[in-house]
């Protein structure tokens, strides 16, 4: 279970982004995190993994309270898929990239090989194992970026705009893939259609606070609420005249 209580975050330049934000996510839940630009989505994600440290408030994952000293342990439990796969795939081969986290946590090469073979087969990308990351297509990069986190088997995975830069077909493939990810998922996105399809629950952020939360269908069909938060209805619910 992920529990955030009264979280406040301030940047070095004095700009306060999160103001007393509280929320909790049950194990196995898929939660969408939506909100206009600057509402605090990315800041929240970065704070969850201790890249930004909170001014006040607490973050708790499976009973482990976030603290400067246990960041390493915390990061084993919560994985982040960054918005731009180019930032996440920094090694020269796909294999070494997926192995990166496992090696840092001291797993033996034999086990690593085993795990990588399994995960790549599962994702249907065995062929890419020995490729260089910069040779992959946009969609392949995204899948491998997700694989680098999946292979570490964290209990929570946080996604930052997973459907950005993808063509419709690849986006569809991604949605299928995400649906089959068994871990607890927190998906920060502007793609409300995807949120509607994937998420059990949706949290709306506005000005660094939780503005509304609830069942995905209830929230994402509420035009008034969405517009107040600087958003609009998912495209599939908009009447577009043809």
């Amino acid at each position: 279970m992920l529990k955030i209580d009264n979280l406040s975050v301030k940047y070095q330049d004095g700009n306060q982004v999160l103001r007393g934000l509280s929320l909790s996510i049950e194990n196995g839940e898929t939660v969408g995190l939506i909100g206009a630009n600057g509402a605090g989505k990315s800041t929240l994600l970065m704070t969850l993994v201790g890249i930004l440290l909170p001014l006040e408030g607490t973050i708790e994952i499976d009973g482990l309270l976030q603290d400067k000293k246990n960041l390493r342990e915390l990061r084993e439990r919560i994985g982040v898929v960054f918005q731009n796969p180019d930032d996440q795939l920094f090694m020269s081969s796909v294999y070494d990239d997926i192995a990166f986290g496992l090696r840092n946590y001291g797993m033996s090469e034999e086990n690593i090989k085993h795990k990588i073979d399994y995960i790549m087969k599962e994702l249907g990308v065995e062929k890419l194992q020995n490729m260089s990351s910069h040779k992959l297509s946009g969609g392949e990069k995204r899948i491998i970026a997700i694989a680098t986190i999946l292979v570490m088997e964290p209990s929570v995975i946080v996604f930052d705009e997973p459907s950005s830069f993808l063509d419709p077909k690849t986006r569809r493939r991604l949605i299928h893939l995400l649906r089959n990810v068994p871990m607890t998922k927190l998906i920060a996105t502007h793609d409300l259609d995807m949120a509607l399809e994937l998420c059990d629950r949706v949290i709306v952020l506005k000005d660094g606070q939780v503005y509304a939360q609830g069942n995905a269908k209830d929230i994402l069909t509420n035009q008034k609420l969405l517009e107040e938060a600087g958003l609009e209805l998912p495209f599939c619910l908009q009447r577009i005249e043809l």
Partner: protein
């Protein structure tokens, strides 16, 4: 900015050559790296006026290129680009060094001419051997070869990341360049006055990117420790092979094969 695209394509063309599967491709990268260095040292060690002794060394690129099925064209175009500078340095010898070196059917061959030809052949040999190395060995394998030779991880990582982000940064700069040129159609390039903001912007973006990469590394438990696997074992037969090649190269260095053949023919 076709220049940027061209450069990236060039790297990527060489990289694609490494996907083949031949005897040469399968050799351990360390062996190939050392073999290239030994070959280079032997070639470079020839005196500046020696020409005939270098001919047998042409066998090295010819043999490797045919066995490794490396197409001629991409390597030769690369060679042509590398030639002008050494050609210039070589040519200048023709003017500065006019001492006679030998006679051939009544024509005087000056030292300068010999030096010129010698430099030319050395350039061909050295450039080709390095290009053969990178078209049969992937960057990843080369990095592992460096680790095998105990080059510090920080340097290997540095080379790896520079190589990894080449295409990303080149892509960014090429988009910026187009955006600039479209609004300044009369310019041949970026105006000197605009270079500050132009490169400056890219630097700041690169710093931000480096931060994000660092975060991504941290999120997967990076503490500056081991990030590469143990390197593959190199078999004794490979070392033996390397030794044989070295001995052959050394023999060719000491014994001028062309001379010998020539003398046999003349009698």
């Amino acid at each position: 900015m076709s220049e940027i695209k061209k450069s990236i394509n060039r790297i990527s063309n060489l990289e694609e050559l490494t996907y083949r599967d031949t005897v040469i491709h399968r050799l351990p990268p360390v062996i190939k790296l050392l073999m290239t260095v030994i070959f280079l040292v032997t070639v470079i060690s020839f005196g500046s006026e020696q020409v005939s002794g270098l001919f047998p060394f042409l066998l090295y690129p010819v043999l490797l290129m045919t066995v490794a099925e490396i197409p001629m064209r991409p390597l030769l175009t690369r060679l042509l680009i590398a030639l002008p500078f050494t050609l210039f340095a070589g040519l200048s010898n023709m003017f500065f060094s006019k001492e006679a070196a030998m006679m051939l059917g009544g024509i005087i061959i000056t030292k300068g001419m010999l030096v010129f030809v010698s430099i030319l052949i050395k350039t061909i040999l050295s450039v080709m051997s390095v290009l053969i190395l990178v078209s049969t060995t992937s960057m990843n394998d080369l990095l592992y070869a460096m680790l095998y030779l105990h080059i510090p991880t920080i340097i290997v990582l540095q080379i790896m990341m520079t190589f990894r982000y080449l295409s990303v940064l080149a892509g960014e700069i090429s988009v910026m360049y187009h955006a600039y040129i479209l609004r300044a159609p009369r310019e041949k390039g970026i105006k000197l006055i605009d270079m500050g903001p132009f490169l400056g912007q890219l630097i700041i973006r690169s710093f931000d990117r480096a931060d994000r990469i660092y975060h991504a590394m941290k999120c997967r438990g990076f503490e500056g420790g081991v990030i590469f696997s143990e390197h593959k074992k190199v078999r004794t037969t490979h070392w033996l092979g390397l030794m044989i090649v070295s001995v052959v190269l050394l023999i060719l260095r000491f014994v001028n094969l062309s001379e010998l053949i020539g003398q046999l023919v003349i009698g």
